[in-house]
Symmetry: C2
Subunit: 150 residues, 2 copies
C-alpha cells in the first residue's frame, strides 16, 4: 500500500488511502479552537460514508470544542520502522433527527467518558490529508528544503 518513490521517507497519501486508514482506526483526536485557544481531546471515532462520528455529552468541555465549524480529526499509527498520520479538516454538528441518531447507533461507538445524555457528533470533511513515513537507514539523508511536515 505504501510505495515510496525514490526512497523519499515521506509519502503523501491519496484521499482513498487516507480514508482507508481512518476507517480502520478506532481512536483519534479532536482539535478545535475556542476563543483563539486550541484544544485537543482523544475520542473514539467511526467512519461512515466518509464522515467521521464520535460521541460526547452536553456540558462537557469536549462538547464545547466539538460543535464548531472548524475542527480537525487526527489519527495516527506508529511502528518502529514506519508511521502514518491522517488529518480531516471539517465542520462538526450534533446529530438531531431520530433517523440519523439511529444510524449512528449502529456504529458501535463508545465515548471515553460515558454520560447519561450522550450525543453523536458528525464531522463533515472539507479536506483529508495523509502521510506515510518510512523510517530507515536513509532517515538522516539530506532532503530538499521546504518539504512539508516535520
Amino acid at each position: 500500500m505504501f510505495d515510496h518513490p525514490n526512497n523519499d521517507p515521506v509519502l503523501k497519501l491519496t484521499e482513498d488511502q487516507s480514508w482507508t486508514l481512518l476507517e480502520r482506526t478506532q481512536h483519534g483526536r479532536l482539535v478545535g479552537v475556542v476563543g483563539g485557544r486550541p484544544d485537543i481531546f482523544p475520542v473514539n471515532i467511526a467512519v461512515r460514508d466518509r464522515h467521521v462520528f464520535f460521541r460526547t455529552a452536553p456540558g462537557t468541555k469536549l462538547a464545547e470544542v466539538a460543535i464548531n465549524d472548524h475542527v480537525l480529526i487526527e489519527a495516527d499509527g506508529i511502528l518502529s520502522d514506519q508511521a502514518w498520520s491522517v488529518v480531516v479538516r471539517g465542520s462538526a454538528r450534533l446529530l438531531q433527527t431520530s433517523r440519523e441518531i439511529a444510524v449512528a447507533e449502529t456504529l458501535d461507538l463508545r465515548p471515553w467518558v460515558p454520560g447519561p445524555k450522550e450525543q453523536f457528533v458528525e464531522v463533515t470533511p472539507a479536506e483529508i490529508t495523509g502521510r506515510h513515513f518510512q523510517f530507515g537507514p536513509y532517515r538522516d539523508a539530506e532532503l530538499g528544503e521546504g518539504s512539508e511536515g516535520g
Copy 2:
C-alpha cells in the same frame, strides 16, 4: 499509579503523574493555530527539566505552526481496558545558542521528516493536564452531568 476513587472512570492526573507519562513517551502531536486555523502534526518528543523538545526544519509547515506563543503538545496511550492523555499548553521557540543546541542534541531526538537544516524547538509549559481513563463494566454507568472531557 492510577487509582480511580469511587470507580469514576476518569482520573484527573497530578502534574507529577502527567510529566512522568510524558517523559516515557517518544511520540506526540503538536497543535498550533495560524490565522485562526488549527493544525496538528505528529512529532517525536523528548522531555528535559519539564520542557518539551522536538525537531523541525525551516520552511516546513510544521515550522510555521511550531514557532508560536500558543501551542499544545499532546501524547496519549491507549490499551483495550485503559487509556491516558496528557496535554501541555505552552509557548514554543527555536533554540538559538550553541550551548542550548548542544544540550538538545543529547536527547536522541529524531524528526519524522529529516532535513539538512534541522532545528530544535523547545516548548515552555504554561500548564500540563492529564487524565487516565478506565474502561470497564461501569463504562456505561450514569455519571453526573458537566464532567470534563468526553
